[in-house]
Subunit: 173 residues, 2 copies
């Protein structure tokens, strides 16, 4: 039996058997986008994350369905454009990952975006988000991330996963 | 200003500015272990995850400091042995990742374990955990994960990250 033991504006806390876990109230999922520009640069975003109290470098990402029912690939392209200023001609699912399988039921769908065109400045929704776009040549991402980390910026491991998947996913499928 | 708005046995909910996020009460962190056997097989674990309502394939992992102050590398080796039956002669930090930077302050430290020796059966703490060890040759992990995913088993993206880091981390440092 599952019981909602606390409910906030965005999140709710669920108790089931001996477990406590958190659930998003206003989203059906999260998408994160693996996108390289025609020049071979990976698109990453840097923003201050209140729960972490620090800057984090992440894949462009966002909630699905927080304003009503929505196709995750449509959400992926919207977030990519809002955050980075690039729009994809083609999007496809690669994999889905639990965020923290013992703590939350949240999953993130990793989406591969290709055929990119530059349509704006990015940076997130004006007045709501403050996002810096980082455009890093694919061959330099690994070393760049290690330097970011050494300087105290948090690096989301989904970026390391993306580096692997960008090299290996198409081959294997 | 930060306010604890709900407190459970394991988790608590925090409100700060417009944000809600979840925090672990009884742990200082989480470690996940990248470990390959002398025969070149990656050690993975499969277990049912209550928040997901499904099986997940993950790196061997566990909480740090849930029974008092603890060195994360000591915790990493304890979890590796409990879950897989292998113990490492050498452990080192590779990187730290937020689990979901907008939802929780939880971070996971990725630890590289080498010089492995087989000391037991693994499977987790008897009576508390039910963990199946998966021992997959490194060159076959990618295809194996895609098949697991196609069959409906959740795959934690930190495994894809580990495949990248196992190939690239030592080289770059």
């Amino acid at each position: 039996v599952e019981e909602v033991v606390w409910q906030g504006r965005w999140l709710e806390m669920v108790r089931k058997d001996q477990w406590e876990f958190v659930r998003r109230r206003k989203a059906t999922g999260v998408v994160a986008v693996m996108a390289a520009t025609p020049a071979g640069e990976l698109l990453l975003v840097r923003q201050f994350r209140v729960p972490m109290g620090a800057d984090a470098i992440e894949l462009p990402a966002g909630l699905v369905g927080d304003n009503g029912e929505e196709d995750p690939l449509v959400a992926a392209n919207r977030e990519l454009e809002e955050e980075t200023g690039w729009r994809a001609g083609k999007l496809s699912f690669v994999c889905t990952t639990p965020s923290s399988a013992g703590l939350t039921c949240e999953t993130v769908q990793l989406v591969l975006a290709t055929e990119l065109v530059h349509v704006g400045a990015g940076g997130g929704i004006a007045g709501e988000e403050s996002i810096k776009v980082e455009t890093i040549p694919l061959g330099e991402v690994h070393g760049w991330l290690l330097r970011q980390q050494a300087e105290g910026t948090l690096v989301d491991a989904k970026i390391w996963a993306a580096l692997w998947l960008l090299e290996n996913f198409e081959k294997a499928t």
